[in-house]
């Protein structure tokens, strides 16, 4: 026991002390946060970019008056006694950034509406103008058909379906499909990547020990099983540390977001405000954040950690066995890794299906079969999974982890000391069934 701790300690410390570990651990959340910040900055800057717009409204679409909401910082000026040609030459000198020309024809000749500018107009500005013109045309048509625009507004329907899950415990949980989808997908992808990244890390570690012949020295002091488990647990601990640091860093960075973008913070944190502007784009984010908090966060976190640890232990032992069998040949390693990658990729594919259709038979199977369950179950758990399925899946994962560790330890202890020979599947099987 003492030796296995020593091995775990070494595997852990040598990796954590590396500069590359520090770099990736700190850089990744910063990059993600920067990405996040840029996205927000872009979406906000589109709104604050004030334009000075001159409108020559020959068709009398706006009738000299334009509707502005309070976010719109652009100014609109109606000009008279000019033609398109004459004003085109001087709108810039008069301090306008844009010149919107609406020709004096009937409202169907839409394509003749032009906006003049020095540089190309951003999509955002263009669509805002189009929206305004469309509204004005609609209004005109409504009036022409003798319909009161205010009455029309009350007639227009805008429905969003809300899904309530009746779990039979007298408690209704509100579900937001979008939030579930995103969290499920993120969880599944994360588990998939963890298994892949840390699994190959274990494999490379084993290969290093084999090719450098360290295994022989260590095995004359400790059991091969201790060496294998020490490596797996040590690297797993590195992974957990990395995640813990990421979560803390992301959390702190998230605190800074409202300081940098106060507008966003107002909208997100003030539900009253959201109620008052239900159709404003950014309040969707607020709604999304709200519905995340309605998800069973505790269960999701627990499942994430459980399937992370269970799936990692299962796959890491398989990767370790492969590492012990191959010699220096990278190509050989790829060949042998393939059978391990197959269920992992299969799990990923099932997971992408499961997030859209969590109760389909393939998703249920995938979330119980231990080689795919870590990835697939993360894709299902946000939608609510029957307890017996969750329990069975976890039990099978633990049992198969124990089984595969026993199996791979046998391959490992022979493979790690065997050099310069290609090992066939048949031979590996012999190592497994051989006694002691």
């Amino acid at each position: 026991m003492n030796k296995i701790w020593l091995i775990i300690e070494r595997e852990y410390l040598t990796r954590v002390k590396k500069k590359s570990f520090l770099l990736t651990t700190i850089l990744v959340p910063i990059v993600i946060a920067a990405f996040y910040a840029i996205m927000i900055a872009v979406s906000i800057s589109g709104e604050t970019n004030a334009q000075k717009i001159a409108i020559l409204d020959k068709a009398e679409l706006f009738e000299g008056n334009i509707e502005k909401d309070k976010k719109d910082k652009s100014s609109y000026t109606f000009i008279e006694n000019e033609t398109e040609q004459s004003f085109k030459a001087k709108y810039k000198q008069e301090g306008y950034t844009l010149f919107l020309y609406i020709p004096p024809v009937n409202d169907t000749a839409r394509e003749q509406i032009k906006v003049h500018s020095q540089a190309s107009v951003s999509l955002f500005v263009k669509s805002a103008l189009e929206k305004k013109i469309n509204a004005a045309i609609e209004r005109k048509r409504l009036l022409a058909a003798n319909i009161d625009p205010d009455i029309y507004k009350t007639i227009k329907a805008d429905v969003e379906i809300e899904n309530t899950i009746d779990s039979g415990k007298g408690q209704e949980t509100k579900s937001n499909a979008m939030a579930s989808l995103i969290i499920s997908f993120a969880g599944g992808v994360l588990i998939y990547m963890i298994l892949l990244i840390y699994g190959t890390m274990v494999m490379r570690g084993v290969m290093e020990e084999k090719t450098n012949r360290i295994a022989e020295v260590i095995v004359s002091s400790a059991k091969p099983f201790q060496l294998m488990m020490g490596k797996i647990v040590g690297i797993g601990a590195v992974g957990l540390t990395q995640f813990a640091i990421w979560i803390v860093l992301m959390g702190t960075l998230q605190l800074f977001v409202p300081l940098i973008f106060p507008q966003l913070f107002e909208q997100v944190s003030n539900p009253m405000l959201q109620e008052s502007i239900p159709h404003a784009g950014s309040s969707k984010l607020g709604l999304f954040l709200q519905s995340i908090s309605s998800l069973p966060i505790g269960l999701i976190l627990f499942c994430f950690i459980f399937y992370f640890v269970g799936g990692y232990l299962l796959y890491a032992s398989l990767f370790a066995a492969v590492g012990s069998v191959v010699s220096e040949d990278q190509q050989e390693a790829q060949q042998l890794v393939f059978p391990i990658m197959m269920p992992l990729i299969l799990g990923f594919v099932i997971m992408t299906k499961a997030i859209n259709d969590p109760d389909s038979s393939i998703a249920v199977f995938g979330s119980i079969f231990p080689l795919t369950s870590p990835v697939v179950m993360m894709g299902r758990v946000t939608y609510g999974v029957p307890w017996w399925q969750l329990g069975l899946s976890m039990l099978l994962l633990v049992l198969s982890f124990l089984f595969f560790t026993w199996l791979t330890a046998k391959i490992y202890r022979t493979g790690i000391l065997l050099y310069g020979k290609k090992v066939s599947w048949k031979e590996m099987w012999k190592w497994v069934v051989r006694k002691s």
Binding site: N2, K3, L6, I7, R10, T14, E208, E209, N212, R213, I214, A215, E216, V217, I218, V219, S220, S221, A222, K223, L417, E427, K430, S436
Partner: protein, 314 residues
């Protein structure tokens, strides 16, 4: 003297070939024991069974009077494999500490011994260097230190001098003598006969998985001697004919190599030469080198083809 290790009828088969086939020998405590054999003879497999890495298919190993129990006895064994095994990116001090603690030393004790050995081997300045920054010979020294750090009773060295310059080789050689003097037993596996001749008390020769020789170095040489003598003259006589006492086996500068015929003694040779009033300045028996014996014994087996014929005195 008590035997620290007894190996009885050890057998180990791999999938297609017999690696070790019925090998037995005993090693006295405190001796330096040479295990010789051409490449692929089964030395490493044998050593791996003695270090508990492999289980023998048949036969038994008695360590220190009891049946060898890998889990507990391993603390008393230090094994330096032929291919050096060190973590390339780990600092030297940490590496030595880690390996020592794996052998069951506590941290303070391990530190104390590492400092002692590093000083002895002039390695103090290496502590924070990484193994990949060391030359092959320096790595060898480190590996040797980590092997003997826990003061094992049985030290197994597989080709310990490969890659070492003469200064460091003799440094380690002295340490080996010192360890043997302090009661440690040393198994020394090699295919370089020169080293064995100098260091070992007792040798076994393994070829194709079987033991073909097991004796002390002195006795082996006696057994394989061919009654050759080298006679040095002040001025080599032009004409020395074969006679009933000896025949001339070779001429080397002012020296003549003679082979004494059956039934005659060196004394007779001297008498014969003195009778002809030649001025003799030296007279030595030429014992075969282990190299010669090794080649003689191994020759004829397919494995011997791997070896270049070595020049001998003739």
């Amino acid at each position: 003297m008590q035997n620290i290790l007894e190996v009885n009828h050890l057998k180990k088969n791999f999938a297609t070939q017999k690696a070790v086939d019925d090998v037995s020998f005993t090693i006295e405590e405190g001796s330096i024991f040479g295990m010789l054999g051409p490449n692929g003879a089964g030395k490493t497999t044998l050593l791996r069974m003695i270090t508990g890495i492999f289980f023998p298919d048949e036969g038994e190993i008695i360590f220190n009077g009891r049946k060898f129990d890998p889990v507990n006895d391993i603390i008393n064994i230090g094994y330096m494999p032929e291919e050096r095994g060190l973590y390339k990116k780990m600092k030297i001090g940490e590496q030595a500490l880690y390996l020592a603690r794996l052998k069951g030393l506590d941290k303070q004790e391990a530190m104390r011994r590492i400092k002692y050995w590093f000083e002895k081997m002039e390695m103090q300045t290496w502590w924070n260097k990484k193994v990949q920054d060391l030359s092959k010979g320096m790595q060898q020294k480190l590996q040797f230190v980590t092997t003997v750090l826990h003061e094992p009773r049985l030290i197994i060295l597989d080709e310990p001098f490969s890659g070492l310059d003469p200064v460091n080789a003799s440094l380690i050689k002295d340490e080996i003598y010192g360890l043997a003097k302090n009661g440690s037993t040393i198994i020394f596996s090699t295919h370089r006969m020169g080293e064995v001749e100098e260091i070992c008390d007792h040798i076994v020769l393994i070829s194709q998985g079987t033991k073909i020789l097991d004796d002390s170095v002195k006795k082996t040489k006696q057994d394989f001697k061919e009654n050759l003598f080298e006679v040095g003259f002040e001025k080599r006589p032009e004409l020395i004919q074969n006679n009933q006492v000896f025949e001339v086996a070779g001429i080397k500068g002012e020296h003549i190599i003679l082979k004494i015929h059956e039934g005659y003694k060196p004394h007779d040779v001297l008498q014969y030469l003195l009778a002809q009033s030649h001025e003799i300045i030296s007279f030595n028996e030429m014992l075969p080198s282990l190299n010669d014996i090794f080649i003689k014994l191994v020759e004829g087996t397919p494995l011997a083809r791997k070896f270049q014929p070595v020049e001998n005195a003739l």
